[in-house]
């Protein structure tokens, strides 16, 4: 009972800036038990504030949020393990309320493969949070998941989801993700860029 109340309070805090009334907290995630499946494990170090790890019924529009695990279930850490649908997009949402009521929200989509084992790892500091997903099917050789696509988080009311824009998520998932060592977008060099080349016309 206490647990549910805390979740309701956290959800209310997350959406306190929205006009729409807060309804019941999101339902628990129900793991699929047939078809192509993969396993998703969720972990974090001990977090200073409350956190919830969700998946969505609709991974494209991020509607129908379901709680996979939260910090109340395991004394301040995220700890869970569940089956997820394989070979189709899965969108996860890490929502963390840092001390001082600073919220941190990360939404990511990836495409798990059949029978693979994935680890979603949440890290949080006083100023923010991060989320990684690794393929740990071979635990001695964990690999960063290559189909891990960042989504734009759109804060809105719980009742009114979506929390992310659908955009061209399928195209992005299909495209192999290239490392970007500069961590930059071309726009950041815009004033310096050389004139357009012939091929771009």
């Amino acid at each position: 009972m206490h647990h549910k109340l805390l979740i309701s309070l956290f959800v209310a805090l997350l959406v306190s800036s929205c006009a729409a009334p807060v309804q019941t907290p999101p339902a628990a995630y129900v793991a699929p038990n047939s078809g192509a499946l993969a396993r998703l494990q969720v972990r974090s170090l001990k977090l200073a504030g409350p956190a919830i790890f969700y998946s969505f019924d609709d991974p494209r529009t991020c509607s129908g949020g379901r709680i996979i695990t939260d910090t109340w279930a395991s004394q301040g850490v995220l700890k869970g393990s569940t089956a997820v649908r394989a070979d189709e997009p899965v969108t996860v949402w890490l929502s963390y309320l840092a001390p001082g009521e600073r919220s941190c929200n990360i939404v990511r989509t990836f495409k798990p493969h059949t029978d693979k084992n994935y680890l979603a790892y949440a890290l949080a500091t006083e100023t923010g949070c991060s989320l990684s997903i690794q393929d740990i099917t071979d635990p001695s050789n964990p690999r960063n998941e290559q189909t891990f696509v960042p989504r734009t988080y759109v804060p809105t009311s719980v009742a009114q989801r979506p929390h992310c824009v659908a955009a061209d998520i399928d195209a992005q998932l299909a495209k192999p993700r290239k490392p970007n060592l500069s961590g930059m977008k071309m726009e950041e060099l815009a004033p310096l860029l050389p004139a357009n080349s012939e091929n771009a016309k």
């Binding site: 970007n180 060592l181 500069s182 961590g183 977008k185 060099l189 004033p191 310096l192 050389p194 080349s197």
Partner: protein, 240 residues
């Protein structure tokens, strides 16, 4: 058989020549002294000073001359800049961005000013590097011009196809070193100093980009720029 004094002297002189030769070969294998190396390569390493779109100072980094009038640096050195200059010994030249490989964080800069006479460095084959090999980093950490540091190649980071992806070195570098040179003890450029691991508990984990990546910079830049221009043209036509 008893050897006369003349034969003994000949054997001795041969021994002396061989010893001298061995000393010379050994010192050649160790490479040049750091002072000599600095003298050789420092004219080719420049400070990059960036300015925002209002012309106000923004940040600084390093760049290395790889051809006459052409320098290589890290793209992140130029991030958010409206313009930039190459600076050395209080002399400054305007730079122009020519090629961009954001994925590998390598950008090619041109300096068209005819007074820019900086010599190009010699480039080594970074695929031939070995762990334990001594190297020197030269750059401008915190805008402290021409800071030389030394270390070893600590690790060669390779991908699944055994291609070199990063050179980990114990030669320390700091913010502002980005785009500087990592040199072998022959004074040849083996890498471009790019990043440090700043996670709590990390010690002296520094990474440079393999210099062999220069070989396909032109084509990779073209692909990335064309993709950007195409996407931009599409956005512009949609917003019209």
């Amino acid at each position: 058989m008893n050897r006369g004094p003349g034969v003994r002297a000949m054997v001795l002189s041969r021994y002396v020549v061989l010893s001298l030769l061995a000393t010379f070969v050994a010192s050649a294998a160790q490479g040049m002294e750091p002072e000599k190396l600095f003298k050789l390569v420092s004219p080719s390493v420049w400070l990059v000073r960036t300015f925002d779109r209002d012309g106000l100072p923004l940040s600084s980094g390093s760049a290395v001359v790889i051809r006459p009038h052409a320098l290589i640096t890290n793209c992140h050195v130029l991030g958010e800049a409206g313009s930039f200059s190459l600076v050395k010994d209080k002399v400054s030249f305007k730079g122009k961005l020519e090629q961009v490989d954001l994925e590998r964080d390598l950008c090619l800069i041109a300096v068209t000013d005819e007074h820019f006479k900086a010599p190009a460095v010699t480039v080594a084959d970074s695929d031939q590097l070995t762990v334990g090999q001594r190297v020197m980093a030269l750059g401008n950490p915190r805008a402290l011009e021409m800071t030389l540091s030394d270390g070893l190649i600590s690790r060669l980071q390779k991908n699944d196809d055994e291609q070199l992806e990063a050179i980990q070195t114990s030669a320390p570098f700091s913010p502002g070193s980005s785009g500087g040179g990592l040199f072998d003890m022959e004074g040849r450029l083996v890498g471009i100093t790019q990043r440090i691991d700043v996670l709590a508990g990390s010690q002296n984990l520094n990474f440079a980009l393999p210099i062999n990546w220069l070989m396909n910079l032109t084509e990779r830049s073209k692909v990335q720029l064309d993709e950007y221009y195409r996407a931009n043209a599409k956005t512009m036509s949609i917003s019209k």
